[in-house]
Symmetry: C2
Subunit: 381 residues, 2 copies
Amino acid sequence: MKGKYGREAEEKLIWRFQLPYSEREYALRYDLTVPLARFYARFKPRIPFKRYHIGRVYRYDRPQKGRYREFWQADFDIVGVKNPVADAEVLDVVYDVFVEVGFSEFEIRVNDRRLLKGVFEETLGIQGSLLMEIYRAIDSLDKIGLNGVIDELKGIGLKDEEVNRIVDLIRVRGKEEILDTLESKYSTNKNVLQAISDLRTILDYSKAEPKIKMDLSLVRGLDYYTGMIYEVWSPKFSRALSGGGRYDNLIGIFEGSDVPAVGGSIGVEPLIDVGLEAGIFKLDTKTYTQIGVVYIGSTYREAWEIARRLREAGYNTYLDLMGRDFKKQMKYLVEKDIRYLVIVGKRDLKEGVVTFQDRETRKRIKVPLKSLEENLSKILV
Amino acid sequence: MKGKYGREAEEKLIWRFQLPYSEREYALRYDLTVPLARFYARFKPRIPFKRYHIGRVYRYDRPQKGRYREFWQADFDIVGVKNPVADAEVLDVVYDVFVEVGFSEFEIRVNDRRLLKGVFEETLGIQGSLLMEIYRAIDSLDKIGLNGVIDELKGIGLKDEEVNRIVDLIRVRGKEEILDTLESKYSTNKNVLQAISDLRTILDYSKAEPKIKMDLSLVRGLDYYTGMIYEVWSPKFSRALSGGGRYDNLIGIFEGSDVPAVGGSIGVEPLIDVGLEAGIFKLDTKTYTQIGVVYIGSTYREAWEIARRLREAGYNTYLDLMGRDFKKQMKYLVEKDIRYLVIVGKRDLKEGVVTFQDRETRKRIKVPLKSLEENLSKILV
């Protein structure tokens, strides 16, 4: 696992441990990307290899709003394709998922590690830990504002000229404007030019284009990204709901030679949190028809058979298990807000019927026991 | 977690550990029953409380066929009901699940901890670790046969008379015969009589009755069971596919006062293993329609739009991402066994059509691009 996620993750965030019974070192899965790389290296599926994977991951993080120690990720990746149309397809998936689950207000912030490299490392000549400090400073643009970033950059020890150069970049807002600016200012830098060309292809091909914002302050923490990176943000939430990008060297660590790859990941719980907060998702939606079978007196054995038949017909069916009397049965069903009742009484049974009652319309009808399922399927459309 | 699962689990099978960053002791979830007990004690939902829960659990076990260190369990429990109709309902769920997924050959072996207690502890006066050794011996009846069990019991140090008494019990096979035998032999033991009465109710109410076998050699490892216990066995597999029972004291450990409960658990991976082996499940079933979009020459941009439209119409759609020529595109689609093709050529596009091809029937037709989805929905029923 070492050398894949970056120092912070490896030294603080990964659940790693030994058991009392064994000398081996274990760890809980940190993400689904490194496991994909290992899978690919071992089984070498035909390329392009596309897969999705929804699974639990673990972070030794301080639990707080939107941050969990154990949560679900939904990942989608394309392995084997260098062509930026693959990046476009990944952003299409992101777009489709967010639209499909009912989000309309979200933006996809896009940047490229090669821009960061070309501008900061190759042009400004900044290296190592200073580079990381700069990344962290500009990554916090949203939290601390432009002046905050300027203060941070000065605090790190950058010259005014360098600070201005960085600020010039991150304050520009239009996609085309950003790319044009970069192209003219860094026209001799191969990394920058290749990134611009790829980003233009992505903007041309992806249906997510209207939601895409170029954001040169976007960095993403993980070490393994090599090209396009993205994050999905929703106005009401202070954390990215999805993130990913291109990682052309990660699989090579396991495979021996480099295999290009691009993908994305959605944090399921944060998505649910935001969806609930924004009223897009609701917890109390009943997705099935519920029926309460009520027995009167000594009809329990018959009521049990009726409940079984209703369950087999697909209804979510309640029948008292505790020998409670009519009143208490009714109280429980009312509290559970179960709308439909099938009441099983001795006299009815003798006539081969049961009483169906709709608690909402207060309608009551006798239904022949023989054709109970057929009759209910007509009543309960 | 201590004192819930029994010694073997707690000393050898639970993943428990500390992190380099923290003094706290952690453990990975061992099952879904103790978490249910904790949930119930904390949130006290209205009884009867029924819930199902499908989740991963962890065992520090030697990995082997049907045995995993990390696997899924599907649990279903009824909390708050002492009445054995709840046990019958749990067995109904077991029955429904196995029938629903396509199993026909399975049996549900049923026993009751109170029978074991009444016969071995209260009548034979056996206690403590010797009792556990006897349980282990009779639990292995299926593996080592009746003579094997006799040898084991003698090896443990039981007298011939005691061995005979045990053998008399575990070799009887008919359900009613077993219950009648027990009733006559242990007519003064309250535990035995209560268990017999409950088992008769279960056999009377449960629709699983034809699949139920009384099996006095069934013990189950976990300490927390107090009444009926069951396991599901399939002839081709040497491990139980589901197990559970009544645990009327477990919730009390968390809740303070006892709350009766009964439930079951299905090991998802073992079920899949058996289903695959028996040919009930198949891995290569395609559950969706796949279409390969093939571009010829300079029609990639148009092919991309068509692929997008087909995906939005719900088809699993392939389009080359690697700039490959016609021949290589076709090779990939044939290897992937994709039946339907939409071929996008320049001349066709000028006429506003694409070519649809069914690789199986070899039929080829021109389809208007405008109404592509509508046309395909008619062709691909």
